[in-house]
């Protein structure tokens, strides 16, 4: 036993170094991923941003409904220009026939505060259910219906399923950034 003990410590040595190195590597990697990830994430939504941000400083910033969502402490124009401001409504037009989903995106990328408009026709009576934000809409058979809602701050970033409740048919996922 006496000879075993130091050897066991020797085992833990390299193992600990490896683990520490892994953690350090993962952390630095995540730092990189964070910057580039956030950058690439904002690129698509940045293009509509200038059009929405430009009128902002001239208007009344305190009354803007989108302000609490973005939570920018000071309405300085330079800061709000770099912030990803609420882009145009995200739309999906879907037709469901005989259990087949037509026209749906795989994922609909949205940000908090953005309006989502889902226009849907189902050939059978169904219920549209947006998980997470818990939006529901009854769909009479064959009638075009539109569900419109603003993405709330809760439950936060993630992929949320948009499905037909009766048949558990997945339509698409709402990708909240």
């Amino acid at each position: 036993m006496r000879t075993v003990r130091p050897r066991r410590l020797g085992v833990r040595g390299p193992a600990t170094v490896l683990l520490a190195a892994t953690t350090a590597f993962a952390l630095t990697a995540c730092g990189d991923g964070d910057d580039t990830g956030a950058g690439s994430g904002t690129t698509p939504s940045a293009s509509p941003a200038p059009s929405t941000t430009e009128p902002k400083p001239s208007g009344e910033p305190s009354d803007e409904p989108s302000d609490p969502a973005s939570e920018s402490p000071t309405p300085s124009p330079s800061e709000s220009a770099t912030e990803p401001e609420v882009p145009k409504p995200a739309k999906a037009r879907i037709k469901v026939e005989a259990g087949t989903v037509n026209g749906a995106p795989d994922r609909l990328p949205v940000v908090v505060g953005q309006t989502v408009r889902i226009t849907i026709t189902s050939d059978v009576a169904e219920e549209l259910h947006v998980h997470g934000v818990e939006e529901l809409l009854a769909l009479p058979a064959g009638e075009k219906q539109t569900l419109e809602f603003v993405v709330p701050a809760e439950p936060g970033p993630g992929l949320y399923e948009v499905e037909l409740e009766g048949s558990s048919l997945l339509l698409f996922q709402l990708e909240v950034q």
Binding site: R8, G10, L18, T100, P155, G156, G158
Partner: protein, 441 residues
């Protein structure tokens, strides 16, 4: 499991991880594999159940005391009894906690509980308690109370089959979050294991019960263990893992865990879901086929890699799969943590709230009915993504170290590297697959 909560609220998954993290994780896995291969020790250092630093004798006597064992058995009976009650008696509303109790608190909760304390389900398992009482009534020792002795070739195969059945329930079965489906599964489960213990005695459960085997395998990564002399010891979790008793079907158990988690990840991709929803086979048959294919691919890759390792080292290829199965446990754990950590946090809270009011009549049995779900974990997508990748890479490194130690013990000295290469390639393949699934699905 993404759709398990479709019955209630939820239906949330983590955002896909950024490509940079996939590359960083894959590179780290590759680098560490070669670091382990090239620089790690040349003589086996893990001594399994023979080693460990003994805790004071009172710890062992407390753990082995009939009082504590009976307390744990009663706790097990109460937990399962409550779950059976809500599954059988309470209305099947979205607020019924049965699904959350089975899939989140029990199945996912076994992971942290076993990692901390060891094979907890063996101590709690009500089937074991029922059998013990029956054996006491007939005056027999529970281990030998069976009609026949357990054939050695059976090994872990019943547990592998049980895990696959549970994975099917959790990931494929129609209406899997509703109480009639949960009831049907666990009634069948109880029937099979009652027959098992009556025929083979309680030894049946050691390797035949999916949840006991799952808990015991993960418990092998806990710092607590039992030495061959019976003492409770503290030891390096990897040395603990090294003491896993191999047997026929052990590799299949771990491959089912890996394959089903990979399949679950795949079902997070809308394109894949759309494909099987539109499949002419029907969603259930297509899902079953998908799950079986995922498990079969993981198994085939394992059989190939261990076969190549056997060829390179001149060892019996038949002995190879069992010899390295334990090294896949950390990799499987990495997969599980990466896929289910946020789900466990969010749905676990939801279940803890739901258990207070199982009949949805406004009652508050445990004082938690008025709690809200703290969803703030979702607000840290970068932290989530890096912990997912961290879990997978850490699992890979621990698996690689375990396989290395086993290799230097088993393989002839001049063939160690040749024998290890296919195993390392296999682990890198599993890890990269896991990362890509987090990225793409």
């Amino acid at each position: 499991m993404n759709e398990l909560v479709a019955h209630g609220i939820g239906g949330r998954q983590d955002l896909p991880i950024p490509l940079e993290l996939v590359i960083a994780g894959a590179a780290a896995a590759l680098v560490y594999s070669f670091v382990v291969l090239a620089l790690a020790w040349r003589d086996s250092r893990f001594d399994g159940d023979a080693g460990g630093l003994a805790l004071p004798p009172w710890v062992t006597s407390a753990v082995d005391s009939p009082a504590l064992q009976w307390i744990l058995r009663v706790v097990g009976l109460l937990l399962v009894g409550y779950t059976a009650m809500v599954a059988y008696v309470a209305p099947d509303f979205a607020t019924n906690p049965a699904a959350g109790l089975v899939y989140v608190v029990f199945w996912l909760g076994l992971i942290p509980a076993s990692l901390l304390l060891g094979p907890v389900w063996t101590a709690l398992n009500p089937v074991r308690t029922i059998h013990l009482l029956l054996a006491r009534a007939t005056g027999a020792a529970p281990e030998s109370a069976g009609l026949r002795s357990l054939p050695a070739w059976l090994g872990y195969w019943p547990a592998a089959a049980g895990l696959l059945a549970f994975a099917w329930l959790e990931l494929v079965a129609p209406d899997r979050a509703t109480t009639p489906v949960i009831r049907a599964f666990f009634t069948a489960y109880l029937g099979v294991h009652l027959v098992g213990v009556v025929v083979f005695g309680s030894r049946w459960l050691d390797r035949g019960d999916a949840f006991e085997v799952f808990s015991r395998l993960l418990g092998r990564l806990s710092p607590l263990g039992r030495r061959t002399d019976g003492r409770i010891v503290v030891r390096n979790p990897l040395a603990n893992l090294d003491g896993t008793s191999a047997g026929p079907g052990l590799a299949a158990v771990v491959c089912v865990l890996l394959g089903s988690t990979a399949y679950d990840s795949l079902t997070g991709s809308p394109r894949f879901v759309r494909w099987y929803q539109a499949s002419p086979l029907g969603a259930t048959a297509a899902g079953t086929l998908g799950l079986l294919t995922a498990v079969a691919l993981i198994l085939a890759a394992y059989a190939l890699a261990t076969g190549l390792a056997g060829r390179a080292t001149g060892l019996q290829w038949r002995s190879m799969p069992g010899a390295f199965a334990h090294a896949l446990v950390p990799i499987a754990l990495g997969y599980l943590v990466a896929h289910y950590l946020t789900l466990f946090v969010l749905e676990g809270q939801r279940t803890m709230i739901a258990v207070s009011d199982p009949f949805s009549d406004g009652s508050d049995w445990f004082g938690t009915a008025g709690y809200g779900v703290d969803q703030s974990v979702a607000n840290h997508p970068t932290l989530i993504a890096s912990s997912q990748v961290g879990a997978i890479v850490l699992g890979h490194v621990l698996g690689a170290i375990s396989a290395h130690d086993r290799s230097v013990r088993l393989f002839p000295r001049d063939r160690v590297v040749a024998g290890q290469l296919p195993l390392m390639a296999l682990m890198v393949a599993y890890t990269v697959t896991g990362l890509l699934l987090l990225f793409a699905a």
